[in-house]
Symmetry: C2
Subunit: 346 residues, 2 copies
């Protein structure tokens, strides 16, 4: 096969061809037919190679993630939605108000155009829900077998309010750890989809944007030290990273951690620990003791934090170590896994 | 094969495993061994899920590109370098001073760690050359056969100086078009590599950062209307996009356009038109007539613009159309191709 792409214009209305990533007329058509109608905004419509927007003097947060979740559609969400919420959440837990996103697509030759449209429309709806604009983008196409449907990178920019400076490194002994809801629903939903499992009930991914719970808790607990969303590696990875970064110990109560029956059942079936399973709409907040109840109340007032509660405390004992007090009253170390149990979860 | 990843820690020092993208200990090790030593800066070292930096009040430019060039290493550059220069160039031609980059990696399981290190070290060197910092990143790993070595997304942020507002839409009849050098070297280098061709001489990709030529021409021609780098689709695609965006006609002189012998020869061999072949260190500037000579002189004073010259003019005739006056004295329309002749050029 020659490296010179053959022109196959007749299929270009239904399937992605290499030419859709070439910068020629097919690329322009993809922009006009798929991306512009969904994402429409003045910065994008300039059609230059960069978006330009106004910023106030101050601090800006920037975060990037590439989303490769498999399958691309699952109960409770899809790759496109996840690509918006995930990056919005990484900005929001940094205390930033998410504002602008870029979107970089890597499409596999032969992808159905209908699938791409569904993902793009989901991204647009997710962006509206989060109050962000997708202002610049890029599309590359790789040969069939050199990719896997669609990979989406989103990079986000948000504004950090004056006086706000959260970081894992700020966490202090005595901080209470507030979790906004039950663990493992995204990871187990993906696992069940891949394995063709029927888990009963209506288990679905918890994929959701966290900018509102973040804003609510920031208002209610102005002295909070850090927030973190719980994605790859689940609660345990986030806690271990923070324990290392702040050089503190962390103690959590198994009894306090909400986990729904289907997740618990699936974890038993597969020998998984729900503390390590991925989430896409869960977060922890580290708050000084005197503001902890206010933080919980603020979370609970939000739809995405109804089950919010204090699940643990930061301690000077056993620095860099996360310890779980089990329902049996014993203690065990919750270490960071060498690798997650489930690849391509996000 | 189960979806549950097996732990294969023994190979993790030499090859990328699915676990390197999992957010667990292997991910942390990749960060500590590969990314941090190369990119080291305060924003990245905070190890939070977002970088935070100060901005002055004003306008910010943002640009994104995913790089999937094949092969990953080629004469004159590699994927890592391209991923930095490409995004720096998209910011620079917008009149922005590039400052911060994010880097999102999609790695294919089984990739050699040595290859990744080479690319990452090239990115770090390229970033230093451009005066930008890689402040936040993400790594995903996909199964063998679901990717192709390495894909890199970079998204850049830069500051636009007060009073600067360039856009294709600003281009006006009478503008002179300044090109900074000879066409097609990147595309033909990649083609020769893929086909195992020996073209003679020392043909190499023109991959280079354009922030200095951009700054120089901005100073010399303060009333310039637009700049554009010539990547996928080459000179012709850039000109056609601008003709449409500004609703103007464009006329270029074949005689004025520098093309080296090897590129000319290879184009004849493959039936390619050099006007459509990709570049990674070439740009055009649209300047009012009275500033055109100053723009050329400023370009020529820069190492990346020694061959700079005026190659054409913007006209009210034939709006949205690009016309080439050939060396034979005839005219032909330079249309936008349906698709580029070469996939995965950047």
């Amino acid at each position: 096969m020659s490296v010179l792409a053959c022109p196959i214009p007749f299929a270009a209305d239904e399937f992605i061809l290499l030419g859709h990533g070439s910068g020629g007329r097919l690329s322009a058509k993809l922009m006009e037919d798929v991306f512009l109608p969904a994402f429409r905004n003045p910065a994008l419509e300039r059609m230059d190679d960069q978006a330009v927007f106004n910023v106030p003097a101050g601090r800006v947060a920037m975060s990037t993630d590439t989303y490769v979740v498999k399958p691309m559609f699952f109960p409770g969400g899809n790759l496109g939605e996840l690509a918006v919420y995930g990056t919005v959440n990484d900005l929001a837990v940094g205390g930033a108000t998410p504002r602008y996103l870029s979107a970089g697509f890597v499409l596999e030759e032969g992808l159905s155009l209908e699938t791409l449209k569904q993902l793009v429309n989901s991204m647009a709806a997710a962006a509206r829900r989060c109050g962000v604009e997708i202002v610049t983008g890029d599309t590359k196409v790789v040969e069939k077998g050199s990719g896997d449907g669609v990979f989406i990178n989103t990079t986000g920019v948000g504004f950090v309010p004056e006086g706000v400076s959260y970081s894992a490194a700020n966490v202090r002994p005595g901080d209470r750890i507030v979790l906004n809801g039950s663990l493992g629903e995204h990871g187990i939903t993906i696992l069940a989809q891949r394995e063709g499992l029927e888990l009963g009930g209506d288990l679905r991914s918890d994929a959701a944007p966290l900018h509102e719970p973040c804003a609510a808790v920031m208002k209610a607990a102005p002295r909070l030290h850090a927030m973190r969303d719980l994605t790859r590696g689940g609660l345990s990875s986030a806690l271990n990273e923070i324990a290392r970064s702040a050089r503190v110990g962390i103690e959590i109560e198994e009894r306090a951690i909400p986990i729904c029956d289907q997740v618990r059942g699936a974890c038993e079936l597969f020998g998984l620990d729900p503390l390590y399973v991925a989430n896409e709409g869960k977060m922890i907040t580290f708050v000084p003791e005197e503001e902890a109840q206010a933080a919980v109340a603020a979370m609970q007032a939000n739809e995405l934090g109804r089950q919010a509660r204090i699940i643990g405390v930061v301690t000077e004992r056993h620095p860099r170590m996360v310890v779980l007090r089990t329902t049996l009253g014993t203690e065990r170390i919750v270490d960071m896994l060498a690798q997650d149990q489930l690849p391509r979860i996000c």
